[in-house]
Amino acid sequence: MSGQDLVSDQGLRVDGRRANELRQIRVRMGVFGQSDGSAYLEQGNTKVLAAVYGPHQPRGGGRGGNRSGTGIINCQYSMAVFSFSAGERKKRPRGDRKTQETSLQLRRAIEAIVQVELYPRSQIDVFVEVLQSDGSDYCAAVNAATLALIDAGIPIKDYSVGCTATIASMGASEEVDSKDETGSGTGIVDANHMEECTGATTLTVVALPGAPGSNYESDTDNSGLVVVAQGTGARLHLSRLEGLRQRALQGCRDTRVILDQAVRFHLTTHDPHFI
């Protein structure tokens, strides 16, 4: 499998998408009664559940809890033991290095949109559980967390949207990039598990893409601001980074449109204030 091109000569990927196409995104908000906000999100076969509790008084305040002027965000990212598609089981759902690091990054992504100064001496808990993993797990987690925050009614500055862009590290894919007439950038967007396993390099970007129309072409101001970027896989030559970033940002914008629609649909159909 490795060394193979991610995009065929006919311009299709293994699952039939084109390079710049996202997987199908399905959303349900308000799935739990107990939590203050919750969301269930599917990006293809990656399935994620997010729940938000708070803002509330910090617990475990033996040492005084949160005395600072801003609220704190507490994130927990975990992967269900049965989440792998390849059949093996994970030993522990959380607590290992990888999920701990992901939790940390998830907190960064949330802190960027929640106006923590509005919640002094309080805490917001965000729990994300990956039920099924098929690539781009972290991005799906960020997207689900954003939706859960919205469901919880916590004011946010913008959608915090994650998206990956993947580029084959092997393979002479330079010419593939140039003939790609669909949008700017290089690489494929929103890779699934199979594509991630080809030995390719993945750039994960969490951005605040801004609403379409609000000069989101430029990414110098807050719109299109990259919050978290993380690369995995083989080494990436610097000259390819920009194209990859463009592609990932475009993916974030596309995702934002879909999420936004889903939120509006949810509110118009379920929220009593809108009926």
Binding site: D9, N45, M194
Partner: protein, 979 residues
Amino acid sequence: MLTTKTFFRKTKRGNILKIVREHYLRDDIWCGSNLCSICKHKSKDLVLDEDPESRSSLYPQGHYLVLDTNVVLDQIDVLEEDALCNVIILQTVLEEVRHRSSNVYKKLRDIIGDPKRKFYVFVNEHHKDTYIEREPRENVNDRNDRAIRVAAAWYQNHVNASKGARKEKQKVDVVLLTDDAANRDKAIGEGINAASMQDYVASLIDAGFLQDKLCKRNYVLEGESKTPLFPPHLTPAQIHDGIKSRKLLQGTFLASRENFLEGSVNVEGYEKFILLQGKLALNRAVDGDIVAIELLPEDQWSVPSDLVIQDEEEDPSDLLEDETELKAIKVPKNIQRTPTGVVVGIIRRKWRQYCGILQPSLVKGNVRHMFVPAERKIPRVRIETRQSENLSKQRIIVAIDSWPRNSRYPLGHFVRALGNIGDKETENEVLLLEHDIPHNRFSDAVLSFLPKLPWLITEADVTQRVDLRHIDVCSVDPPGCTDIDDALHCRELENGNLEVGVHIADVSHFIRPGTALDKEAASRGTTVYLVDKRIDMVPELLSSNLCSLRGNEERFAFSCVWEMDEKANIIDTKFHKSIIRSRQAMTYEEAQLKIDDETQQDSIAKSLRGLNSLAKKLKAKRFENGALVLASPEIRFEVDSETHDPIDVQAKKLRETNSMVEEFMLLANTSVAKKIVQDFPECSMLRRHPEPPQANFDPLVKAGRNRGFVINTASGKELATSLNEAHTEDNPYFNTMLRILATRCMMQAVYFTSGMLQPEEYFHYGLACPIYTHFTSPIRRYADIMVHRLLAVCIGADATYPNLLDKKKNHELCYNLNYRNRMAQYAGRASVALNTHLFFREKVQNEEGYVLFVRKNALQILIPKYGLEGTLYLSKKGEVSPVNFIYDEEDQSQKFEHIVFHSFDPVVVQLSLDRSNVQHEKLVFKLVKPVIPGFSIPTKSDPEMVPKSNIVPKRKTEEKPTGSEISGGKRGRRKKQKK
């Protein structure tokens, strides 16, 4: 944009496992036909003709073809012809082909890429109307067949619908070609036009030559013997189990070059090769195949027969010849036997296309003929052709299709003809094909990256480079060399030291990474030199003009400049890109004359003398370290300028200047190697020469011992010393022959990526230097271009790019370069052999030679004058000779009465070209001296008529051979780069 239907595919793998994958179906996959009015094509997708022309009598309507997988796999040679156009390749087929044969897949992709052929890939698996799910209990093959039928039917409907919209223009059919009878029947039942490839091709207008190319699967015997000749092969599952339980072994089958009934298998974990003897043991394995073998019990083990047997039977009958010769071998008890086995199954065929000649059937009008491959390791092949008259005089290419149990030979089909046998052009073509050397014209895409003429040096270039135009640089090369890639200078500095510069053509300036030009050069890997032809790695504009450091022209160079003291110690090394103007492009001879002529005192002469004296010191240092001087017979043909036929042969001469240039190239290479490894320890391209295992030296040590010399092989240095000391009075060529033997003990020097090995393994054995690379010939070697790029980054003259720093990528590149290099070397040798044949065409000549090896039934003779090696048979199969030689294996000698042949013994042999078989010319060696009644032939007489009476027996020792003037050296076009 996206049809959001999600499908799940479940696959089982090993233990039962459920894999769920998304499978998106789309509505934006177009049919690719020009007549279509429904699809929203982009113009580049329109591949198929609006009204395809029909050449088939079976389907007089214009039609598109849909191919089944088996057709593509088996009949790829037919598809490669221009005959079939307007073809739809379904993705199902493409995927299947990719999994089954990467070779065919590559060819198919090439065909698809050719716009003239009008092959359109239809992604039926992702089309919303043509995707089908596998039904319960349906196997994958059946599902794929059904998918193909569904797609064909869809096309038919689609085309009809479009046509309706276009007002009954002309009817276009869709025809499914499949060789699977069941699939065909089902298709016809579903109302799809379907035919077998055979029928379809036969119905074409110009079917004749295509029919020859059809694949042969089944073989019906004309004769009696219906019983299978060979034992059956095990099924893949049985083989798998056998290997798992260690009952069977897996390895690559290597046929013996000398004995067609013998072969060996290289099994991992076994020190020795496993021997296979006899047709049944070989069981239809062809050289290169990966086979499963069963080891015989130890009491049935045998030893290699040491016989030279060729399959020369004229009658292509299906009887297995009795293998009396093999059986006659008595295994001496005291000798260690070799593990012996039999082939029980083939894991993977490595069949490719073979060059060779047709051996027409003796029966007139018969369409079945035998094909004799040029490569001796490959068995003869049965083919069917109707053009035997025509083809019997030509070199042809044939592909093997199958080897059924009841056939003594594999079945194959004709692929194409190369040209008349004996034509220079044809023979060269054969040579290039056999060695897999890309020799097509450079494509337009490649040429588009060449600089535009007139090429001028701009101001910007000058500021980026060091201007060395004021320095007196000159180049020294063989006569007639047009791709000059190195130039030298030497001048005295004010502090009394010497400044020496090596200037290498700056090819990496013109060949930018990632361009088509770069890729083509990387794939060719090296320029190939044949006797009368050069196959360039880069287009001529670069190789002979812009990059070539011609005399009195301003050129870009990559310079390596040292400051040296009188004793040739390096004080300082600098690298920079530069502009130079070579004062003069000299030949070795001219340079030598200039050095020797004391009256010449111009700057170039001084510079050359300086270089020469430094080179001698450098060389002395190298030998002190244990560098080897090896030898291989090397000759040069005088070629007729009109006919390109060789007129005369002479040994290459070596001058001081050859070694002078060589020394500085070696120095430059080592200096550069050190520099790039310092900066890029992970991804530098280096060259190493591994130390051969001691067992390799056995023949050399044995040969030395026969003559009373002890050859010490413990280290390179000891070997060099022993070789230097081994001289005999009576045989001045002895030392050179020892060196030739030593060369054959060596391993190949190879390119590698520094990150893949430990620094200790970088060692170059032949040069006795810890680190080495190739930097000095970028015009003709791709490795040098890579090294140039690395060095350019080191000195800040250029930027990196992704692949340059990719260890794995570089490793793959090295693999290709090593392969190309080896092949280029073999091709060069084969070209020399070919020209030797041409040279001997009308001649019968007596020549002095030496016995190189003693075999059981033959002597291997080396003729120094021509650098030619050949076999002198001492006994022939089925021939009763009055002279029976006795072979002594311990002593490596052949004895008849009082005449004994040892290695290194001088002999006189008569050389002639056996043209009795017009198709297969052979150089024949016949013994002249020492005279053996009834075996040797008299001087200057017709070889056919040997009057036995007038031979006076002579003792071998009476012969006093005159030493021939061959100096040792390395093989290759030019001495210096070979190491």
